[in-house]
Amino acid sequence: MSMSNSEKVKKFLINNTVPILFVVLLFFAIPLSGFSPEYLANEMITRLGRNSFLVLALLIPVMAGMGMNFGIVLGAMAGEIGLIFITDWGVVGINGVFLAMIISTPIAIILGFVAGLILNAAKGREMVTGFMLGFFMNGVYQLFVLYGMGNIIPINNPKILLPRGYGIRNAIDLVNIRQAFDSFIKLKIGDISIPVFSFIIIAILCIFIVWFRKTKLGQDMRAVGQDNDIAAASGIAVKRTRILSIVISTVLACYGQIIFLQNIGTMNTYNSHEQVGTFAVAAILIGGASVAKANISNVFIGVVLFHMTFIVSPRAGKELVGQAQIGEHFRVFVSYAVIAISLALYAWRRQAAKNREIKAVLDEQNEAIENRGGSQ
């Protein structure tokens, strides 16, 4: 199939409407905000190191046709449980981060498995179910952390326990492991500090994802993603494959949240995970992904554009209407609206595809009638 150049450009524009829109938006907003290029570059590097891993965790369920996995919140919770334990035990530095990952991996696997089972039962409405599952699990997490820890589960560090003797405090200072990854290998170019080790970890994950796509399991996920019934007819274990994709995503999200929190350095025990799903999904969609198709470049473009919008909009809002608050509200609005629009467009196209069969027949008929010289 050959395409003319203008068609190619048109196709590129249609496929990348969202990122292009954001580039245009930033083109005006960045100068308006008055931030220096160094500041922005520094922020971008930090945020790429902090957030990319979480967003990458969304890729595999998309491949398996399960849409945006709002359930990565579950993985984030697992990661936080690991961080609570290592803080309690006082494990320091990069060892602490790795230990947290090791502790939380089995928790993430179990949560991912449960989520996978539930999403299989809710086939056809995975996204809204994953979303609500995040809220539900938040309650279970509270039960576990606020009432179970220090009570049934031994926690001894009074710094993280509530004064009443059980339950974890609202905020935990992760001083032991603060930026343990980021500063493990230090590099500074001019005023810009680069978290080299975090980037190495992210690069490894990218390589893993590329490698994974080439495996038999990856191919099976692509097949399942396109059509459950046909995949099943060829002997692929569809349900199992779908569960596996959610398990992998949950485990990756768990690591992603640990990387995120070691950079931030403090953990809001009951809130840090709440918006993880929404922000990650918004980022990848701004990067040009859709519910059915997402790749690594969408992740990085998305993180840059999303966070750039995040950084500059309060200042730009202040310059524009004299109120920084407007900009703050605007960025929240942007993250929700982008998801709403992307999901709606996708559903819209899917509905159009359903009518395509009828349309194809109609076109054929019109052609036949015309060839005959019109209907009498």
Partner: protein, 347 residues
Amino acid sequence: MKNSIIESIEKIGWPRIIIGLFLASMFVIAPFVGVSVGTSISDVLVRFTFNGVLVLSLLPMVKSGCGLNFGLQLGIISGLLGAVTSIEIGITGFLGFLIAIGVSIPFAILFGIIYGLLLNRVKGDEMVVATYVGFSVVSFMNMMWLLLPYKSPDMIWGYGGTGLRTTISVEKYWFHVLNDFLSFEIGGVYVPTGGFLFFALMCLIVWIFFKSKTGTAMTATGSNPVYASSSGVNVNKMRLVSVIISSIIAAIGILVYEQGFGFIQLYMAPLYMAFPAIAALLLGGASVGKATIANVIIGTFLFQGILTMTPSVINNIIKSDMSETIRIIVSNGMIVYALTRRKKARG
């Protein structure tokens, strides 16, 4: 015998039985842990009247096949616009409340049309799209609350601030205009007669609507859209009408809530308001595809019962406030449970 027990349990539904028994046990335990049953019942009744209309607003959309209205916030925003406009005008008492309703309805219709047209284009994915449309509208209104030219000193930030406050008291305007109407106390139980009458009136209107030709067509549309359209019904129009009606009732619902609660809550407050209402409806025995007015009444009662009783009773037993956690688990668990129920296979 055994079978018939299981059958009737399944007919009522496990979640309702569990929650019902849980609630009953709360009332039994209450006096032993020093919680007044009278006050508790008053609380449940009052909260029932606050929330009933919001839950009722979900009904038309479920019936027409649009699913659970995760975008309830659109109706709520209309109601909020009515509320702040009424206060800006400054008329107090029942008339002020009516003005709030009057102002909010055109907004509800307008939002309902846009929202309904959108939902018709995303059939099958209504719920996830609606969730984020609801969030988007709430966050968009965050900017509007700052920018809209409201002037009443009861509503705007004092001392040089601009925009509306997060919480606006309706004390001076139409606080409890419904609840205190014909209210009385009997054996220590406060009965908000007006609130009940208003809720009953709304239920009656909805009930009558579903007896009309249009209401019947709407029910059939939800039951089998292909059948409906082969009977000459315009399916998309029916869905659209249901969304508009849902939005109007939701707008009225939030106003009822505010007159009872005493405050108008702006900004992020409406963000998650759809979930408890949906959970209540499901708790009442509704499913993604079917709901009745009885489901609304039973569900609101059970849900508000749990919300009222758990803090007081559980807190007195284990001396710590688990109510928020229990609320999260019950309401969101109920929704997840309902989403995993498959529609009965055709055939």
